[in-house]
């Protein structure tokens, strides 16, 4: 049984890697030919899109970031028009939050060009600029990561929970091991939130991606790090406001780190030039974990599990108490776009 599970995980990993290699070559083909879908009913779909030529000079090319996003979203929602996927996620009149991750500073934060591309498509789907809110814990972290703060009408908003007049709810929410006050940007400002985390190694949790990014929504993340953040990560993701409002994940895997995270340790950062999208945060996180493990092995390091940092919270998030998604590769439909 164990051997079967290992084989399954190995095959899943192979798919992750093969896709990365093949994708650069597939550019220029029609969408229908590119998307190598593995559609199976009742599986959680996860799309990985990669562009080996994503960068020009020192940064990500905004046009290529938009094209990469389109490729991922069209493959996920099986559409040909790049705006149609967004109409399935949001509707005009809603305030749409983009929860980014900026704690590690400019070297290892959610990519600005990717966020700009998301904001562009949201506007084309009928969301007013002011109804798009890029947010994280603090103004300072957002600015350090290169985001420009804004609360101006007719512009996309960008604001931290610590901004004057924002803050956390007075009343706390609980689930399992956690009791937290949630950012008012989630509870009061936004109608829906698209989670835009960054794929990183994490010294305690093992991996930080969709689920762990919710630590940036609560007032007391430091109290949720015990026991390798388990079951803290899964429990935080179960808080009612988070479950209600966070509707989709667009995970930034353009620049990631496979060791030394969650801080920016340049020697362990690499340009993966991918994004991972899906409704199921557990499946997205499981996929991200495999990518990090693969990179660790390539670089002569042991897997996260072998060094005692396997992200146990991913399995917990999938258990019967949480049911936030699936971590079983047999139930994840991984699509390379």
């Amino acid at each position: 049984m164990k051997e079967k599970q290992q084989t399954s995980r190995r095959e899943f990993l192979k798919t992750c890697v093969a896709g990365t290699v093949v994708l650069g070559a597939s550019e220029g083909l029609a969408f229908a030919e590119k998307a190598q879908e593995v559609i199976t009913a009742r599986k959680s779909k996860v799309v990985i899109a990669t562009d080996a030529s994503l960068r020009t000079g020192s940064g990500v090319d905004p046009k290529r970031a938009l094209a990469l996003l389109d490729r991922a979203m069209k493959a996920y929602f099986s559409t040909r028009n790049p705006v149609d996927p967004w109409k399935k996620l949001v509707r005009p009149g809603q305030v749409v939050g983009l929860k980014v991750n900026t704690i590690a500073g400019p070297g290892l934060s959610t990519n600005r060009e990717l966020v700009a591309a998301i904001a562009e498509r949201l506007q084309q789907a009928g969301i007013k600029p002011y109804d798009i809110v890029i947010w994280d814990r603090t103004n300072r972290e957002l600015q350090r990561a290169g985001f420009q703060l804004s609360s101006e009408l007719n512009k996309v908003r960008c604001i931290g929970t610590d901004a004057p007049g924002v803050g956390y709810e007075d009343a706390s929410e609980s689930f399992g091991s956690v009791n937290c006050r949630v950012s008012k940007l989630l509870t009061q400002t936004c109608d829906v939130v698209i989670n835009v985390p960054l794929l990183k190694d994490h010294g305690m949790a093992g991996v930080t991606l969709s689920l762990k990014n919710m630590y940036g929504v609560i007032n007391n993340p430091q109290q949720c790090h015990s026991n390798n953040c388990n079951p803290g990560v899964a429990d935080v993701a179960m808080l009612p406001s988070i479950r209600k409002k966070v509707v989709f994940t667009i995970a930034d895997a353009t620049t990631c780190c496979y060791e030394g995270g969650p801080r920016f340790n340049p020697q362990y950062a690499w340009e993966h030039n991918s994004i991972i999208v899906g409704h199921d945060p557990v499946a997205v996180d499981y996929t991200g974990w495999q990518i990090i493990d693969r990179k660790r092995v390539e670089n002569g390091l042991k897997t996260l599990e072998a060094v005692g940092r396997g992200p146990k919270y991913i399995a917990v998030a999938a258990d019967t108490n949480h049911r936030l998604g699936t971590n079983d590769p047999k139930h994840i439909s991984l699509v390379q776009a």
């Binding site: 020192s58 704690i103 590690a104 500073g105 400019p106 070297g107 350090r144 994490h202 010294g203 305690m204 949790a205 930080t208 630590y215 993340p221 430091q222 790090h225 953040c229 060791e259 030394g260 995270g261 969650p262 801080r263 920016f264 340790n265 340049p266 020697q267 362990y268 390091l301």
Partner: protein
């Protein structure tokens, strides 16, 4: 008589506490001063205020990385942003541990990888975009956010500036 003894004991305790408090303040101040001002090291400009973190709020700064430092006995952390020749952004952290062993524990927890050793502090590792060294109870970490041929040496220079202040 007993009342007098109690009074003297109270005075001694109060004086001891006062000195202990002053000692802590001096220590924290010296760590904060370890971050060089603009042009104290050639080419480097200090572009942000000095921020100080205690063990209780260190996770606000380094998230899940904090636990490792707390376990190793971190007392306080100071950090500031820098810019080299107005183009390379960097951040410098000085962690004051309770003793040299704590600094060594953190230093050795990271695999050396392709680091170059440089003569700095008690031990140092230099990478193309980062520098880590320890000196007594201090653990210093400097990270550049851009890569360029001159960055590695520039980080070592900034590290030397910090080391010379810590040595005073």
């Amino acid at each position: 008589m007993i009342g007098n003894i109690k009074f003297y004991v109270a005075v001694v305790i109060a004086v001891a506490l006062l000195f202990a408090g002053t000692g802590c303040k001096n220590k924290a101040a010296s760590a904060a001063e370890a971050l060089p001002q603009s042009n104290q090291v050639t080419g480097w400009e200090k572009v942000g205020e000095t921020r100080t973190y205690t063990p209780s709020n260190l996770s606000d700064y380094i998230n899940g990385g904090a636990e490792q430092y707390i376990k190793a006995g971190v007392k306080d952390t100071v950090t500031s942003d820098y810019k080299f020749q107005n183009k390379i952004e960097a951040v410098a952290d000085v962690y004051t541990m309770s003793d040299a062993q704590g600094a060594q524990t953190i230093f050795e927890a990271d695999p050396a990888g392709n680091a170059k050793t440089v003569p700095l502090g008690d031990a140092a590792r230099s990478y193309s975009q980062s520098l880590v060294f320890r000196k007594g109870p201090y653990l210093v970490r400097i990270v550049a956010y851009q890569d360029a041929p001159e960055v590695q040496q520039a980080l070592v220079d900034l590290g030397r500036g910090i080391e010379s202040i810590l040595s005073k």
